[in-house]
C-alpha cells in the first residue's frame, strides 16, 4: 500500500485509540471522584490535566480548576489539541485521506463518530450533558473496533492501523501510570496523604479499564502486583506489555521495519529489567522509570517513521 496512506492509517489508529482512552479515563475519573466526598475540585481534577500534558494551556483559558471547566476543556475545547473534539477532527482528517482503504461499515461507523462530534461537541456543548455525550462516544468506539475486527482484511492497512492503536494505548497507559503515581489520592484527613494505599492503585486500574480483569487474574490489589500487571502482563489487552508485544508482532508482519523493531527491542529489555517492588514503593523511581519508557516509545515511533513513511532513496 502507499507509504503516504500507511501514515494516515497509522495516525487514524492513534487518534481512534486516543478518543477511546480519553473517554475511559474521563469516565473512570468522574466515577472515582463521586466516591471521594472530601476531595476538592482542584485536587480532584488537576491530575487529569497533567495526564494530557495540557496544564499550562488550561490556565491560559480558564481561571480555576473546576469539574465543569476541566471536563469542558478535555471534551469540547478546540484550543486543546488533545481534547476529544480535536482528536475526532484528526480522525476525520486522516479518514478522508485513506477512505478508499476502509470497508464500508468501518467507514460509516467512523464517519458516524465524526458527525456526532460535530453535532454534540461543538460550541453548543453543555457540560451537564457530559455523561450522555461520553456514553454515545463509548458505544460508537465499540462499533468501530468491532468493524475493524470483523471486516478488515488482515493486510497491511490492518497492520498499520493496529500499530497505531497499540502504540497509542501503550503511551496512554504509561502516562496515566506516571500521573497517578505522582498524585496521591487523599483520604479523609486531607493533611496526611497516604501514598499508594490500595484504593489509589485500584483507581489506576480503573483509569485504564483493567480493574475487573486484574481481579480475575491476580486477586487482591496491592502496589507491586498492580504495577507488575499493568507493565508486564501480556494477556490483558489493556496492559502495557501486551500492547508492546502486539506492536512487535504487527511490525514483523509488515516487514522491513528493522529500525523500529530494534528500538522496540530496547524498550522490551528495559521493561523486563524493572524491579516492581522497588518501583511500587518509591514514587520518584516510578516516575523516572515511566519517563524512560516514554522516551523509548518515542524512539519506536521515530523508527516507524523512518522505516515506512520517509521518502525512499531512488
Amino acid at each position: 500500500m502507499l507509504a503516504r496512506v500507511a501514515e494516515n492509517i497509522y495516525w487514524l489508529g492513534r487518534y481512534l485509540e486516543r478518543v477511546d482512552g480519553t473517554v475511559r479515563l474521563l469516565n473512570a475519573h468522574t466515577n472515582l471522584l463521586l466516591d471521594s466526598p472530601y476531595t476538592t475540585a482542584s485536587i480532584g481534577w488537576t491530575p487529569l490535566l497533567a495526564v494530557t500534558g495540557m496544564d499550562e494551556l488550561y490556565f491560559e483559558h480558564y481561571p480555576q480548576v473546576t469539574a465543569a471547566s476541566v471536563s469542558k476543556f478535555i471534551i469540547a475545547d478546540t484550543r486543546n489539541s488533545g481534547s476529544l473534539v480535536s482528536s475526532i477532527q484528526a480522525v476525520r482528517y486522516n479518514l478522508r485521506a485513506c477512505r478508499d482503504m476502509m470497508p464500508t461499515s468501518l467507514y460509516t461507523t467512523i464517519n458516524g463518530l465524526c458527525l456526532a462530534s460535530k453535532a454534540n461537541l461543538g460550541d453548543n456543548f453543555n457540560v451537564a450533558n457530559k455523561h450522555m455525550a461520553l456514553s454515545d462516544i463509548e458505544q460508537r468506539m465499540l462499533a468501530i473496533f468491532g468493524a475493524i475486527d470483523s471486516t478488515m482484511n488482515r493486510d497491511q492497512s490492518y497492520q498499520f492501523l493496529r500499530v497505531g492503536l497499540h502504540i497509542e494505548r501503550a503511551d496512554m497507559t504509561s502516562r496515566i501510570l506516571d500521573v497517578r503515581s505522582a498524585n496521591l489520592l487523599p483520604t479523609k484527613d486531607q493533611q496526611s496523604l497516604v501514598p499508594f494505599d490500595n484504593r489509589q492503585w485500584e483507581s489506576v486500574l480503573q483509569s485504564v479499564s483493567a480493574l475487573q480483569m486484574y481481579r480475575r487474574q491476580s486477586g487482591a490489589v496491592a502496589g507491586p502486583e498492580v504495577l507488575n500487571y499493568l507493565l508486564q502482563n501480556n494477556t490483558s489487552p489493556r496492559c502495557y506489555r501486551y500492547c508492546v508485544d502486539r506492536l512487535q508482532a504487527h511490525l514483523q508482519a509488515i516487514g522491513g521495519g528493522e529500525k523500529a523493531l530494534s528500538e522496540l527491542a530496547k524498550l522490551i529489555e528495559r521493561l523486563e529489567s524493572a524491579q516492581m517492588t522497588e518501583l511500587a514503593n518509591d514514587p520518584s523511581s516510578l516516575h523516572a522509570f515511566v519517563d524512560e519508557l516514554e522516551i523509548l516509545l518515542i524512539g519506536v515511533s521515530n523508527g516507524i517513521n523512518e522505516s515506512y513513511y520517509s521518502p525512499k532513496e531512488i
Partner: protein
C-alpha cells in the same frame, strides 16, 4: 390523479406525466405509489434519504465554500424514468457517437484525413486549446483516446433526445449515479418490487474490465490519480478506486524511473503501474512537459506513456474533442468515419467563429444560449431569455474578442420531471449524463446521472450552482410484475445450543 399531483404543471415535455396529465406507462406504478403516501410519509422518506447520504458520506466540494470542503449531495427522491425500449435506442446512438469520436481523435493525432478531406477546417486545430501537437504519431491501444465519455442528453419539447455536449476529459458523476440507487434501495425498497428496474452497478465491473484491456499485462496494476482531498469530485475518486480495486494515488505517490516506467511508492518500495485512470487535467499531469508549476502530476509521465509502458485513461490530448465548436461537427464525423446517419442528433448549433453564423448570434443574443467552448460547470454561459441587457453587452464583447471560442444554441425547452418541493410535487428541468466506456469493447451505463435544476424555473443543473440529482430508472414494462409473495418459513439449517 391523487392530491400530490392535482396542481402539477409542466411547461413542456415531462418525463413522467403526459400532456393529458396522466402518468406514462413506465411511470404508472411509481406515480401511484407516491399518490398513496401521506405528506408525513413522504417527508419521512425524504429525511431518511438525507440521513443515508450523511451516513454514507456522499459529498462534494464547492470551491467557493472555503473551509466547508464537504457538502452533502443534494438528492431528490422521485426518480426519473425512461422506458426500456427507448433506452436501447439511445444506448446504440451513444456507442455510435463515441466510436466515431475516437476515430476522429486518432485521426487528428495521426494522418489528419478529416482535414485533408475537408470535413473539418484546418484552422480549427490552430485555435484548439486542448489539441496537443506534440502527441502526433502516437497510437494508443485499440486506437482509443477517450476511454470514458459522459455525453449530456436533453429532451426537447417534442420529446426528441439530443446530445447537448460530450465530456471527454475527466467527466464526473458516475459514482453519484450508483450511490443514488443505493439511497433509493434504502429509503423506498418497496418500489423495487413493483417495477422491473434495471440495475446500475455493473458499471464498475465494466470500468475495471475496460481499464485492464488497455494493458498487455494479464493482471495489470491499476491506479486512480486524484488531485487530492480538496478536489470537488474527491468522493468519486475514492469511490471508484475502491470499487475497481485500484490504488488511489496522488502525483507525489508516483515516480517515473530511468526505464521510463511508472512506479508507485509502496511501503516496501516501488511497484510498477500498468494503467492510470487519471482525474487530473492534461495541463497538470506532467511538469516535465506541460505546466511546470504543477504539483499534481508526475514528472516523466508522458515519456512513459509514449514509450507504451503505461496506459492513461483518458489519454492526454483526448480533450481536443471536448470542445463545443468541434461538437458542432460531430454529425458529419459520424457520417465520415462510419458511413452511418447519427442515431442521436446534436442540438442545432451556431459557430461564432464563422462570420455569417456570428452575425446571427449577435443579432439574437436575447433568444440564444451562448457558451464558451471550453468551460465546464455551467460557468461563463449566457442564457438569452433570462439575461439583462448589460449581460448581453458583456457577452457581445467576449464573442467579438475571441469568436472561435463561442457557440450558441436555441434555448431548448428542456424536459422536466416531478420533484419534491416543500410538501408538493413540482416540475423541474432535468438532463441526463450517461457514461460510455471504450477499451477493447464499448459499454454504456444503464441510464446515467439525472441532474435536476432545483431552483424553480432554473435551467442550470450543475451541483456547484444549485443543482441536485435523481435516481434514473430504466424500466422494462414488458410483463407485469406481481408483488412478491410473503416468505414461507423454511426449515432451519444452522446449529443451535441444545
Amino acid at each position: 390523479m391523487g392530491s400530490h399531483w392535482e396542481n402539477y404543471e409542466a411547461p413542456g415535455f415531462d418525463e413522467l406525466i403526459d400532456k393529458a396529465g396522466q402518468p406514462r406507462t413506465a411511470s404508472r406504478k411509481l406515480v401511484q405509489y407516491f399518490n398513496e403516501l401521506s405528506d408525513e410519509q413522504i417527508d419521512q422518506r425524504r429525511r431518511a434519504a438525507e440521513l443515508a447520504i450523511k451516513q454514507m458520506g456522499i459529498t462534494f466540494t464547492v470551491y467557493s465554500d472555503g473551509e466547508n470542503i464537504d457538502r452533502d449531495w443534494p438528492f431528490d427522491i422521485i426518480p426519473r424514468v425512461i422506458e426500456h425500449s427507448e433506452w436501447m435506442d439511445i444506448q446504440q446512438g451513444l456507442v455510435q457517437r463515441l466510436i466515431a469520436l475516437n476515430m476522429f481523435i486518432d485521426d487528428l493525432y495521426n494522418d489528419q484525413n478529416c482535414i485533408r478531406d475537408g470535413i473539418v477546417p484546418e484552422d480549427l486545430l490552430d485555435s484548439s486549446k486542448n489539441f496537443l501537437p506534440e502527441l502526433r504519431g502516437i497510437k494508443p491501444k485499440h486506437g482509443v483516446w477517450a476511454h470514458i465519455c459522459g455525453s449530456d442528453l436533453v429532451r426537447d419539447i417534442d420529446g426528441t433526445i439530443y446530445v447537448l455536449e460530450d465530456n471527454l476529459r475527466v467527466p464526473s458523476g458516475v459514482s453519484y449515479m450508483i450511490e443514488n440507487r443505493e439511497i433509493m434501495k434504502r429509503t423506498v425498497p418497496e418500489l423495487f418490487n413493483l417495477c422491473n428496474i434495471l440495475p446500475v452497478d455493473d458499471y464498475t465491473a465494466n470500468l475495471r474490465a475496460m481499464l485492464s484491456s488497455l494493458s498487455d499485462n494479464p493482471n495489470p496494476t491499476l491506479c486512480v490519480l486524484t488531485p487530492g482531498v480538496f478536489n470537488s469530485a474527491y468522493f468519486e475518486h475514492t469511490y471508484l478506486a475502491q470499487s475497481i480495486g485500484a490504488t488511489l494515488v496522488e502525483g507525489r505517490d508516483l515516480v517515473v524511473l530511468e526505464d521510463d516506467c511508472v512506479y508507485v511508492r509502496n511501503v516496501e518500495g516501488f511497484q510498477k503501474v500498468d494503467v492510470i485512470y487519471r482525474r487530473v487535467d492534461d495541463a497538470f499531469i506532467d511538469p516535465e512537459c506541460f505546466n511546470k508549476e504543477s504539483t499534481l502530476g508526475v514528472a516523466g509521465l508522458m515519456r512513459a506513456w509514449r514509450a507504451g509502458n503505461v496506459a492513461i485513461a483518458n489519454a492526454p490530448g483526448a480533450g481536443v474533442a471536448d470542445d463545443k465548436v468541434i461538437y458542432a461537427y460531430v454529425p458529419e464525423l459520424i457520417r465520415y468515419y462510419l458511413d452511418q446517419e447519427p442515431m442521436i442528433n446534436n442540438v442545432p448549433t451556431y459557430r461564432c467563429g464563422e462570420k455569417d453564423q456570428q452575425e446571427h448570434v449577435l443579432a439574437n443574443l436575447d433568444k440564444l444560449v451562448v457558451k464558451p467552448a471550453n468551460e465546464s460547470g455551467g460557468y461563463g454561459m449566457l442564457i438569452g431569455p433570462q439575461s439583462t441587457l448589460e449581460e448581453q453587452e458583456e457577452c457581445r464583447d467576449r464573442i467579438l474578442a475571441d469568436p472561435r471560442n463561442y457557440i450558441a444554441q436555441p434555448t431548448l425547452a428542456i424536459s422536466t420531471s416531478p420533484t419534491l418541493y416543500q410538501n408538493d410535487v413540482a416540475a423541474r428541468h432535468v438532463d441526463l449524463r450517461p457514461f460510455v466506456l471504450q477499451g477493447e469493447h464499448v459499454t454504456v451505463t444503464t441510464g446515467g446521472l439525472t441532474r435536476v435544476a432545483l431552483v424553480p424555473g432554473s435551467l442550470i443543473v450543475n451541483s456547484s450552482q444549485g443543482g441536485g440529482s435523481k435516481d434514473t430508472w430504466i424500466v422494462d414494462t414488458r410483463g407485469e410484475v406481481e408483488p412478491e409473495e410473503l416468505d414461507t418459513p423454511v426449515e432451519s439449517q444452522s446449529q443451535s445450543q441444545s
